[in-house]
Amino acid sequence: MSTATEHVEHTDGHEAEHHGLSDKQYIYVALILAALTAIEVSTYYIDFGPFFMPTLFILMTVKFVTVVSYFMHLKFDNKLFTYLFYSGLILAICVYCGFLATFKFFLQKG
């Protein structure tokens, strides 16, 4: 995954930057995501003890960020897109954590 930027020649002669990975690299990323999903599913069959919840949350976050960064090209695109998307996401997390805290959701689980 060393080369992250390719150049594509347009038919009108202009050269436009094509940000992203090669097709082969996309397949590698998909294989990693499939392996992470397999580990996630294994938590249903294997007792992870106290590591159950942290493992699931870490795997979910890694899969989420991988799809957003590589398949949605945020890693290679303009940073403004990253700010737009993650500001919505962080706002949603803050608002709904506050909402759940209002209903004492975290105290019940704790």
């Binding site: 699931l56 398949f71 897109f81």
Partner: protein, 203 residues
């Protein structure tokens, strides 16, 4: 005057660009996806709050079929791969492969939706209706909204294939494919969260 007209044509073929030099269409799509986080955040947190509220009907851990849902999740994950391959082909101006990957993505999406319909039907037969319990209402609302998003994505993909065959895609074709790809990947990342929080974490 002629130069201005040519300049406008060039802008139209590559999508309108903002003062930042970025495509307005792409900016709009990312803002839309950011706002969609709030929609699904609301549905997910409502489900989290109500998943233990089962006064009547089956409990979540009694009806969830994890092996079946795992296969559905895998299918949707692989549809993200085929979508990104379609975007890649569009950027190379390889129309044949672009159409092929778009059709495969739509078929994988349809398989996922078919699986969801089967799941809903089997849950209903086991006694979990929309109004059976707060768990049932919040579960069907959350996963149903996601299913509708996938269905809208399938319609957009098929419309894209049809429009491309008739050469009726306005502006920059690669950008249009990329925008629909962004929506499709978003639907996938929402399912990544739903699969973990709804199915894998017990109530």
């Amino acid at each position: 005057m002629a130069e201005t007209a040519i300049s406008h044509d060039h802008d139209a073929s590559h999508g309108a660009h903002s003062s930042t030099g970025l495509s307005n269409n792409k900016l709009g799509m990312w803002m839309f996806l950011g706002s969609e986080c709030l929609l699904f955040g609301g549905l997910i947190s409502t489900y989290m709050l109500y998943k233990g509220r089962v006064n009547s009907g089956p409990q979540p851990n009694k009806i969830f079929d994890i092996p079946f849902t795992s296969v559905s999740s895998f299918v949707l994950l692989m549809s993200s791969l085929t979508m990104v391959l379609a975007v890649s082909a569009a950027q190379r101006k390889d129309e044949r492969n672009m159409n092929l990957w778009l059709i495969i993505t739509a078929l994988l999406g349809a398989t996922f939706v078919g699986g969801q319909v089967y799941e809903f039907t089997s849950f209903y037969r086991e006694g979990l209706g929309f109004t059976t319990s707060l768990f049932g209402s919040s579960f069907y609302t959350l996963t149903g909204f996601h299913g509708v998003h996938v269905s809208v994505g399938i319609i957009m993909l098929m419309a894209l294939v049809g429009m491309n065959r008739n050469n009726r895609i306005p502006g920059d074709r690669a950008e249009v494919v990329e925008l629909i790809g962004l929506y499709w990947h978003f639907v996938d990342i929402v399912w990544i969260v739903i699969f973990t929080l709804v199915y894998l974490i017990p109530s």
